[in-house]
Every structure is written in structure tokens, then in C-alpha cells.
């Protein structure tokens, strides 16, 4: 009898051990998830707490009496709406201009083989790698020379040049992902090259266009160093700069208001990011392993 049950007992034991190990890993995974997400949770949680709970030495995790007061205060602070408007103007202009210009170049890189394409790729990737802190000085001096400092236009131009290489590179990836056969089939059917382009290529690449523009939106919305240097008047600044000045002057920091303002600044970005993260994440590393 034992000759039959012994191996079975061994399998049961192995299965149980595997299940225990899986449970242990799951616990580790949950702890890591909690630690990673904690700052985001804490920001939102603090934003809804009444002041006495924020300032107490024993923190409450989630307030029993949530309040919207901090959000009202943050919005009522000077320049909130002006800076929101400025951010939207800058981001809108940057997205439209960079998408049009970058799309053309991306088509050239993805669909044509031409002398100098290697040089063009080096240029694009090279600019992508330039540290922004190193470019602030000359861009500022040149913009000042043409009277573009303290002008939204100056910031639009700066964002355009730092985001164009990124846009060209990701769009190129999206266009290359479209099977060549589809386009060729359309041309065999008698469409012109332009016709094949608008009817076959464009609809297929549309999700990529959306993803890239959203990512440009986010980067431009978040950008700090150029906006800080170029836009000097408070009414002329972007929301990111407005947030960075939030506690600047007072000794007693209004933590609730600061966290409410942070939440308001982060919300559009987080929502958009969740929508496109999957599509964009691999643009910078795509194809690294396949070779």
C-alpha cells in the first residue's frame, strides 16, 4: 500500500509548498504595491481632511468627515484660473504644432530609405538626450534677444523643440507597425499613393497619433525648468509654476491646501497617462530584444 501512497503524498506536499510560496509572494507584492502607491493615496487623503486631523500628531488614514474646503481655498488663491488658462494655451499649441511637423518626418523615416536618414536619426536621438538644464541658458539668452521672454510664445517654442524629437521617434514606431501589404493592396486597387495614405494609413495610425499627442500634453503640462525661467510675471505662468510657489512665502504651511492644489494639478495628467501608458511605454526601448 505504501508503495502507491508515498509518491502521491509527495505530490500533495509539493503542491502545498508551491501554494504557500505563491501566497508568500502575493503578500510581498501587496506590500510593495502599498508602498509604491502610498504617496498618491496620502496626497488625496490629506486633501480631503479637515485641518485639525492634518495637524494632529496621530494621523488618520482616511478622514471620517471629509471636506472640500481645501479645494475651494486652492482654487480661490490668486492666479489659479489664469495659470490653468496659460497651461492650456501652451499645451494646445505645442501638441498641434509638434504633431503636424513630427508626423511628416516620421513618415519619411518609416516609409522611405534616403541618403542621410542615419544622420537624421542621430540628430533626433541626440536632441532627445540633451539635458534640459544645459540648454536653459542659451535658450533664455536667445529668447531675451528677440523679446520672447515672459511670453507664452517663447515657452511654446522651447517645448516644441524639446518634444519634437520624441514625437518623431514614437510616431515612426507606430507607422512602421502598420503592415506594408495593406498599403500595397490599396494601391493595386488603383488608389493613388495619397489616397492609400489617407484611407488606409491614417485610420490605422490614429491611435498612435492620439497616444503621442497625449504624452506631449503631459510632458508640456508638467515641464518646470523652462517655464520657471522664461515666464516671470505671476499672471503669465503655468499651473506647474503656480503649484511650486504654493508654500513659498508663509511660515505655517497650509498642508491641506497644498495637497488639494497638488491633486488638482495631477488629475488631468494621471487620467491621460492611464489611458495611453501602455502604448507609449515601449517607444524608447522598442525592439531592443528582438534583434
Amino acid at each position: 500500500v505504501s508503495a502507491v501512497t508515498a509518491p502521491r503524498a509527495a505530490t500533495v506536499r509539493r503542491a502545498r509548498r508551491r501554494r504557500l510560496r505563491r501566497i508568500a509572494w502575493n503578500v510581498v507584492g501587496l506590500v510593495v504595491a502599498a508602498v509604491v502607491a502610498f504617496p498618491v493615496f496620502w496626497m488625496v487623503s490629506t486633501a480631503f481632511k479637515p485641518d485639525d486631523e492634518i495637524n494632529s500628531f496621530v494621523p488618520t488614514w482616511v478622514s471620517a468627515e471629509p471636506t472640500l474646503q481645501h479645494f475651494r481655498d486652492a482654487i480661490a488663491r490668486p492666479y489659479f484660473w489664469e495659470t490653468v488658462k496659460n497651461s492650456l494655451i501652451v499645451v494646445g499649441a505645442v501638441v498641434v504644432l509638434s504633431m503636424i511637423v513630427a508626423f511628416l518626418a516620421a513618415v519619411a523615416l518609416a516609409k522611405y530609405r534616403f541618403t542621410g536618414n542615419k544622420l537624421f536619426v542621430v540628430l533626433v536621438i541626440g536632441i532627445l538626450m540633451l539635458p534640459q538644464a544645459g540648454l536653459v541658458i542659451p535658450l533664455y539668452v536667445v529668447l531675451a534677444r528677440y523679446g520672447l521672454t515672459n511670453e507664452l510664445m517663447g515657452l511654446v517654442l522651447t517645448h516644441l523643440v524639446i518634444l519634437l524629437p520624441f514625437a518623431v521617434w514614437t510616431l515612426r514606431g507606430f507607422i512602421m507597425g502598420i503592415p506594408k501589404e495593406l498599403e500595397e493592396a490599396a494601391m493595386v486597387d488603383g488608389s493613388s499613393r495619397l489616397g492609400a495614405f489617407t484611407r488606409i494609413l491614417l485610420p490605422l495610425v490614429a491611435p498612435g497619433l492620439v497616444a503621442t499627442s497625449v504624452f506631449i500634453f503631459i510632458t508640456s503640462w508638467n515641464e518646470y525648468i523652462f517655464a520657471n525661467v522664461i515666464l516671470t510675471d505671476q499672471s503669465n505662468q503655468t499651473l506647474t509654476i503656480w503649484l511650486s510657489y504654493f508654500y513659498g512665502t508663509s511660515r505655517n504651511i497650509d498642508w491641506g491646501g497644498l495637497m488639494a492644489a497638488s491633486t488638482l494639478t495631477a488629475i488631468p495628467v494621471v487620467i491621460f497617462f492611464l489611458l495611453v501608458q501602455r502604448k507609449i511605454a515601449f517607444g524608447l526601448t522598442a525592439g531592443a530584444v528582438k534583434a
Partner: protein
């Protein structure tokens, strides 16, 4: 072979004239022209200006008159003789090595963890990572500042409750080292998601049979990673490491805002902050340009492996 050439092959009756072919050949150049024009206009001239500025005396009066005074290599001489420059460079190298090392190691460990957990935990952990990734740098700084606040920051409370020690009223921004350590933690927190999600995607491409074969041969998890997984993922690690080095070497927003403009001083400079203070704090744009130029040269050297890899991928299909 271009698509254009194939297209004409399908329609043999219309033979393209030489002019037509020349026009076709110029299409890619017309397409890239706008990008080239924008980059040359907005970046080319400033880059040229960066070089000339670095040889000029260029302070506030010169900024107003829009004309610098040529002083040769004086700016470079004064920078390279300045002890603050060398200390800052060394500090930035150590800071970069520490943050990149931590990011890659922790990011990879979490990616390996993602493979071993149940699907529902994986969804939760991925969601947490994406949330952290999505946080704008300025917002993250404010939240970190609140969490590590000495009076009622949650970090001190949790450390004290966990009996790590008595951290009541502990000030995390007292010494230069602890200030930079806080900045480093913030940066690592924000950088891990990109590494984890990229490595996790790469792990999916490691052939299952290879891992199983190694396991049957008696290899433990560490050996499997070292001898099977890592060699396959090496290109990904190369790219992730060089990108992280370039990003962290020139970092500005987090150290500048978390340490706070009024507490920034030569003992806690990082390169990005140093350049900014020299130019905009002290209004010496010539000297700032010289430091910028040195910084760009260092980053250019650092980014060679990444650029080479990307060019290989960008021009072969």
C-alpha cells in the same frame, strides 16, 4: 526599395520620366524639412550661442545691451580652477550612480516579483506603479515634502510606530547628505515604474523552455537569472541604464524644489542646480554657459551607447 518604386512597377504602361523620379526622390527630404527647420531655428542658434557665450563676459548689463564682451577662455579657466565645480561634479557622479543603481536593482526585483504573483495582485501592483509613474515631478516634490515634514510628517510617525527608533520631530533636511538622500529616494520612487514595466515586458520574451531546461538541470533562481534571463535582456538593461544615467545626471526639478531655493548652497549642488544658480542666481551667463557646455559634453559621452543602439534599430528594418 521604396514603396514608390514598387507602386510604379504595378503600372508598367506609365513609365516615369527622369523629372518625375527626381521629384519622388525628394519626397522624404520635403517631409523632414519642417523638423530640420524648426530644430535649426530654435535649437541650432542657441547651441551656437552657448559656445560663443562661454567665451564672453555676459552678465546683466550685457543681457540688457544684448552684447557680450569677448574674454577668451577665462570662463573655462575660472570654472576648472573652481573647487566647487569639481566637488559638484563628484557629488553628481556619486548621486547618479546611487540613484541609477537603486532604480535598476529595485525595478528588476519588482519585475521578477510580478512574474511570481497571482493575476489579481499583479493588476494591483501594476496599477500602483502606473500611478507613481504618472505623478508630475512638481506634485511629487510637494507630496514628499509633506510626508517627510518634521512636525507631523507621516514618515516620522510610521518609523516611530514600527519601533525603528524615535523619529518624533526628526528633521530630514538637516545635513547636505540627508537632503540629497531625500531627493534620491524621491527620484528612485518616480523612476522605478519605467524600469519595472520595461523589464517585465522583456521577461515575457525570454523563451519558457530555456528557463525550464535550466531548472531541470538544477539551477536555482539566481543562476537562472544570471545565466539565462540576464544575457537575453542585456540590450534592455543597457538602454535602461544609459537612459537613467543621462536623466539623473542632469536632474533639476526635484533637488531644486525639494531642498528649496533658500536652502540651496554649494554643499548640496548637483550639476543641473549648479548651472542654474551660476547663470540665473548670480546673473553670470558666460560662466554658466561654460559649465553647461562641459555638462553637455559629459552627457554626450555618456549617451554614446544608447544613441548607437537606437541608430542601429532606427535604420534597419
Amino acid at each position: 526599395v521604396t514603396v514608390a518604386a514598387e507602386a510604379t512597377a504595378h503600372r508598367p504602361r506609365r513609365r516615369p520620366s527622369a523629372l518625375r523620379r527626381a521629384l519622388r526622390g525628394s519626397v522624404p527630404y520635403l517631409l523632414i524639412f519642417p523638423v530640420i527647420a524648426v530644430i535649426t531655428a530654435i535649437l541650432g542658434y542657441p547651441l551656437y550661442r552657448l559656445v560663443t557665450l562661454s567665451f564672453q563676459q555676459y552678465g546683466l548689463p550685457e543681457l540688457i545691451q544684448r552684447k557680450g564682451v569677448w574674454i577668451g577662455i577665462d570662463n573655462f579657466e575660472s570654472v576648472l580652477r573652481d573647487e566647487i565645480f569639481w566637488r559638484t561634479l563628484l557629488r553628481t557622479v556619486i548621486f547618479t550612480a546611487a540613484t541609477v543603481g537603486l532604480t535598476i536593482v529595485l525595478g528588476t526585483l519588482i519585475a521578477l516579483l510580478l512574474v511570481r504573483i497571482s493575476a489579481w495582485v499583479r493588476v494591483l501592483l501594476t496599477a500602483a506603479l502606473v500611478l507613481a509613474w504618472a505623478m508630475p515631478a512638481v506634485v511629487a516634490v510637494q507630496v514628499w515634502f509633506w510626508m517627510t515634514n518634521f512636525q507631523n510628517g507621516i514618515l516620522n510617525y510610521v518609523l516611530t510606530e514600527l519601533r525603528v527608533g524615535d523619529y518624533t520631530q526628526h528633521n530630514w533636511y538637516e545635513t547636505s547628505f540627508s537632503k540629497l538622500a531625500m531627493v534620491a529616494l524621491l527620484i528612485v520612487w518616480g523612476a522605478i515604474p519605467f524600469v519595472t514595466i520595461t523589464v517585465y515586458a522583456g521577461l515575457a520574451q525570454v523563451p519558457r523552455e530555456l528557463v525550464e531546461a535550466a531548472e531541470i538541470d538544477g539551477a536555482g533562481p539566481i543562476r537562472v537569472f544570471r545565466d539565462v534571463t540576464f544575457p537575453i535582456l542585456k540590450p534592455i538593461f543597457l538602454i535602461l541604464t544609459s537612459l537613467s544615467i543621462i536623466w539623473n545626471f542632469g536632474v533639476f526639478t526635484q533637488p531644486y524644489l525639494l531642498i528649496g531655493a533658500s536652502h540651496i548652497d554649494p554643499t548640496n549642488y548637483l550639476m543641473g542646480v549648479y548651472v542654474y544658480i551660476e547663470a540665473f542666481g548670480k546673473s553670470d551667463f558666460g560662466r554658466g554657459a561654460a559649465i553647461s557646455l562641459l555638462m553637455l559634453l559629459i552627457v554626450a559621452v555618456l549617451s554614446v551607447p544608447y544613441v548607437r543602439r537606437m541608430v542601429q534599430m532606427g535604420t534597419t528594418r
